[in-house]
């Protein structure tokens, strides 16, 4: 899943980015409102984490501009403004969630995951597929014998394919949603992740879970 964080505190940028990356998310960063606005318009992010008091262009203006342009991106406002009026204003201007600084990182993670689920219209975080049970809220996958340990990237890839179950997902789309940056990823990196994922799942006899469509990409039927 790919996220965009618009936040002017570099130290907060670093810690949030690290934290999300360790959970398998790809997170792009913008340090001011104008740069953030440009990124949000140019790329398809699953969730935008938005500070309000930003240099260049304030957070509410970014949000308003995005909504005026018809963007349906899920927005979580992360702000030190703690008044009820601020929260109401933010939500009324089109934010999907509001979290006040200082915040619990796990809570931020849970709220972002909830917004991702909402984007793919899966309220239930548990997905049953064959003998496997995938919990997207906890980031875990279970077989009848117990938990299968996946790396964050493997889990995110699986989660993304499950969210588009029945549809072929191209390698480019997977790169865009799994990695930060814009084109610095090696071309076979997705194949490597899929290969590792298949190995771990095939050990539990789910040999045909992820199928390859040559020339197109991957699909979970």
């Amino acid at each position: 899943m790919k996220l965009l964080l618009i936040e002017d505190s570099t130290r907060l940028q670093r810690s949030i980015k690290k934290g999300f990356e360790k959970e398998g998310f790809a997170l792009d960063i913008a340090g001011d409102g104008l740069e953030g606005m440009a990124l949000a318009v140019a790329y398809d992010y699953d969730v935008l984490i938005l500070d309000l008091m930003l240099p260049g262009m304030d957070g509410l203006s970014v949000l308003k501009t995005l909504r005026d342009r018809g963007s349906k991106i899920h927005v979580l406002i992360l702000s030190a403004k703690d008044q009820v009026a601020d929260r109401i204003k933010g939500l009324e201007m089109g934010a999907d969630d509001y979290l006040i600084k200082p915040f619990d990182f796990d809570e931020l993670l849970a709220r972002v995951r909830a917004l991702v689920r909402r984007r793919y219209e899966t309220k239930d975080p548990t997905i049953q597929i064959g003998n496997l049970k995938v919990n997207t809220a906890l980031g875990k996958i279970y077989h009848q014998d117990g938990e299968i340990t996946l790396s964050p990237k493997e889990f995110t890839l699986l989660e993304y394919l499950l969210a588009r179950r029945g549809r072929v997902v191209t390698r480019d789309a997977l790169v865009e949603h799994l990695y930060t940056g814009y084109g610095d990823v090696a071309s076979n990196v997705i194949d490597v992740v899929v290969c590792n994922l298949r190995k771990k799942i095939q050990q539990k006899c789910e040999q045909t879970l992820i199928q390859t469509r040559r020339g197109f990409g991957y699909v979970i039927p």
Binding site: K22, M53, P55, D82, F103
Partner: protein, 476 residues
């Protein structure tokens, strides 16, 4: 004042004082009037009796046959009938009765008939006639002048002392006195009622502006500090009070707003580093084995700690300035040396932002001031110029030509004239976005606070988008 005693009231005090004063005055005047009139009438009544007695005395003469009363009842009918109202008895020196008025009938005047040296007055109860005023005098009746016929002369015989008892009914006189008493004291009662009404009405009207103020002050909501007091009809005595009170309310409102904003700003300034600390620690704890990440987080944590320490130190300095506990010393301070020291400190930051600092001071420039505070002032002014001037700009530091002082100038393309009034406000920043970290918006506040303590003239102006701070030291 004891706990239970009611609070003194201007209204009550004035009412009581005026009513008591007016009451005592009116009662006193009435009493005086009553006594004067009663005395005057009584004297008149007595004088009348006395004159009547003189008539009887005149009519009592010594003849050859002895003492006789030359009395003709038709000229004095009041002695003739039983109704009186006058009665007399004339007693001879030997104690025998010379004459008694017809009006007494068979009664006698109930008093002694012995001679007296001076006229004596008394009130006696006469059967059938009631209370009477009685005069007793002893006199020497006149006799025919031996030399001139028809002329009378005083009797030379001291033994011929005749005593006259003359009484007059006083019931009608007493009724007159009663009527006068009633009139006086009745008028007093009415007058008192009128005075009470007048005093209360006058006080109510006179003290209406005061009551008005009291009502408005009582209705002030402690939470709504924008309340003001208005006098419907301005009065000389209260207008200055109301003006002062309103001025105090304005200052109070400003103070509370400033305090609220200050508290909110402090909270906000602390939220950002706290968020950073919490996020760093929580993410760090998720994977403590990631050595590289943990080390970088520790570096961030140290930076945050230093910034918070700086913020707290500045706040404490401001608090000490506000509380008057920051004492300034008066030493020889070389501004050139301080500037060189400060320039070294800002050099790294200036290099990062490609800002050139052009300092025109190379000779010692000594003033009398507090070294530490002047250093802080110059440090903050230069930090401000280097941090907020546009990237690649030039900051100029030079001596003032016409006064002992310095000016520091830097381009400020984003500032407008109205921003100048906020520059020294605590936590004010041109960009509402809190960048956190080093710039909390307290540096210039501290500059102003120190300048005040050191009696420096600190001014700021914006001309052609050049921001210039001038610092003039007191004459040395």
């Amino acid at each position: 004042m004891s706990k239970n005693s009611p609070m003194p009231s201007i209204h009550r005090t004035l009412t009581h004082t005026l009513l008591l004063g007016a009451g005592f005055f009116i009662v006193g005047v009435s009493l005086l009037l009553d006594l004067t009139i009663t005395g005057f009438l009584t004297d008149g009544f007595d004088d009348d009796i006395f004159f009547r007695a003189q008539s009887l005395v005149t009519l009592t003469k010594v003849f050859e046959e002895g003492i006789e009363l030359d009395f003709a009842g038709e000229f004095m009918p009041e002695f003739e009938t039983a109704e009186g109202p006058e009665y007399f008895e004339i007693w001879l020196p030997d104690g025998s009765l010379l004459e008694r008025s017809e009006s007494l009938g068979k009664n006698a005047l109930p008093t002694s008939n012995s001679p007296v040296e001076a006229a004596e007055w008394e009130n006696v109860e006469l059967p059938g006639a009631g209370l009477c005023r009685l005069l007793r005098i002893t006199f020497h009746p006149q006799q025919e002048d031996a030399d001139v016929e028809g002329e009378l002369e005083a009797s030379g015989d001291a033994t011929l002392g005749v005593t006259l008892l003359l009484a007059r009914k006083r019931n009608s006189f007493d009724q007159l006195l009663k009527a006068i008493h009633f009139l006086i004291w009745g008028s007093l009662g009415v007058l008192l009622l009128v005075v009470i009404g007048f005093v209360r009405l006058t006080l109510r009207r006179g003290l209406r502006p005061l009551d008005d103020i009291q009502r408005q002050v009582q209705n002030i909501d402690p939470g709504a500090l924008d309340s003001r007091i208005f006098l419907q009809k301005p009065v000389v005595e209260l207008t200055p009070v109301v003006d002062q009170l309103n001025a105090m309310l304005v200052r109070l409102e400003d103070g509370v707003i400033r305090e609220r904003r200050f508290t909110s700003d402090v909270a906000h300034e602390l939220r950002t580093p706290l968020s950073e600390l919490r996020s760093l620690s929580e993410v760090g704890l998720k994977d403590p084995d990631d050595h590289e990440m943990v080390v970088s987080f520790f570096q961030d944590t140290r930076e945050i700690s230093l910034e918070m320490e700086h913020l707290v130190s500045t706040l404490l300095e401001l608090s000490r300035c506000d509380g008057g506990s920051r004492i300034a010393t008066a030493d020889d301070v070389d501004l050139t040396s301080i500037l060189q020291k400060v320039l070294k400190r800002v050099a790294t930051h200036a290099l990062e932002r490609q800002v050139k600092v052009d300092c025109h001071l190379d000779q010692p420039f000594v003033v009398k001031s507090d070294w530490t505070m002047v250093e802080t002032i110059l440090q903050n002014l230069l930090n401000n110029a280097v941090s907020h001037g546009p990237q690649g700009c030039t900051v100029v530091v030079e001596k003032l030509k016409d006064a002992p002082g310095l000016k520091i100038r830097n381009p400020a393309p984003n500032l407008v004239e109205s921003d100048l009034t906020h520059l020294f406000e605590r936590f004010w920043q041109k960009d509402a976005a809190r960048t956190g970290g080093k710039n909390a918006g307290l540096g210039l506040s501290l500059v102003k606070a120190f300048a005040l303590l050191l009696n420096l003239e600190l001014s700021v102006q914006l001309e052609d988008q050049q921001l210039t701070f001038c610092l003039v030291f007191p004459g040395t």
